[in-house]
């Protein structure tokens, strides 16, 4: 009787997995979609469990001085904003096109993490997502990463002046630099407005 129950439960689980797998394949593999609730839950749980306890307990060894936050801001604008956006919302052409999309880092899903969890994510990346590993295995003293952690904590309080400063620091193509110069000249009252933007979509 007990053996029969085990077999029946196994068949039900197997059938559920086959149906779920089939529905995943039927949905296709476009990166436009949002992960299903099941995928998001499984990924978040696995990710949370995957952070070693030794990292989870780490506290930022650097003080949150304006200087450290500024250095984090400069680093973020240069390396991270292309996917995460200057304000941490993830609302960029790269971010919108990823699967899964980068999280809005101003929200509790990121802000609720410990310093060590954020540090670990930056240093080790997230497998099967667009987040690369930027650090070295086992290293916990990378000051530039700890400054980034301070800046990520600062994201919900970002000021318009800081956003403008970051715009100046974002990597730009030659065409974008020319467009920016043209915009500055136009705002100063020199020249006239072009009829359309020259910005590329990709």
């Amino acid at each position: 009787m007990r053996k029969r129950n085990v077999v029946a439960i196994s068949i039900v689980i197997l059938l559920a997995l086959v149906i779920y797998g089939w529905s995943l394949i039927r949905r296709g593999f476009s990166a436009h979609d949002e992960p299903s609730a099941v995928e998001a839950f499984a990924a978040r749980t696995a990710r949370s469990l995957a952070v070693p306890a030794s990292y989870e307990r780490l506290k930022n060894p650097l003080p949150p001085t304006p200087e450290n936050i500024r250095e984090g801001l400069e680093h973020f604008a240069d390396h991270c904003a292309v996917c995460h956006a200057n304000d941490g919302s993830g609302d960029t052409p790269f971010g919108r096109g990823m699967y899964p999309k980068p999280p809005d880092m101003r929200q509790a899903t990121t802000q609720g993490k410990t310093d060590g969890e954020i540090y670990y994510t930056i240093e080790h990346g997230i497998r099967l997502s667009g987040m690369p590993a930027f650090g070295e295995k086992g290293r916990t003293d990378d000051e530039s990463t700890w400054k980034l952690v301070h800046f990520i904590r600062h994201l919900p309080k970002l000021t318009p002046e800081e956003l403008q400063q970051m715009e100046r620091l974002n990597p730009k193509s030659r065409a974008e630099l020319e467009e920016e110069l043209e915009a500055e000249r136009f705002l100063r009252g020199e020249g006239s407005a072009p009829s359309k933007s020259t910005k590329h979509k990709h």
């Binding site: 002046e161 956003l163 136009f186 705002l187 009252g189 407005a193 009829s195």
Partner: protein, 78 residues
């Protein structure tokens, strides 16, 4: 980028050099800058030069940043 031809409490209309007008909605949380300082939509006046970063939302354009310059010089008649 262009010259402002109309301002409401939720949008601005900009005219480019080809006289093509484009309306952009400006939500309350949109960052507005004048020089290096913060500004607001109420600081935008008809005739000002502006540079607007915007994204499409359906068939509308929604501003994410508005940079305000000075008033455009009146066009020369000759």
């Amino acid at each position: 980028m262009g010259t402002v031809t109309k301002v409401t409490d939720k949008s601005i209309t900009i005219e480019d050099k080809d006289k093509k007008a484009t309306e952009v909605s400006v939500p309350a949380d949109t960052t507005c800058m004048k020089g290096d300082g913060t500004a607001a939509l109420k600081d935008v006046k008809v005739g000002d030069r502006v540079v607007v970063s915007a994204k499409k939302s359906g068939d509308k354009l929604v501003a994410t940043m508005v940079k305000i310059g000075g008033a455009a010089a009146p066009a020369h008649k000759h």
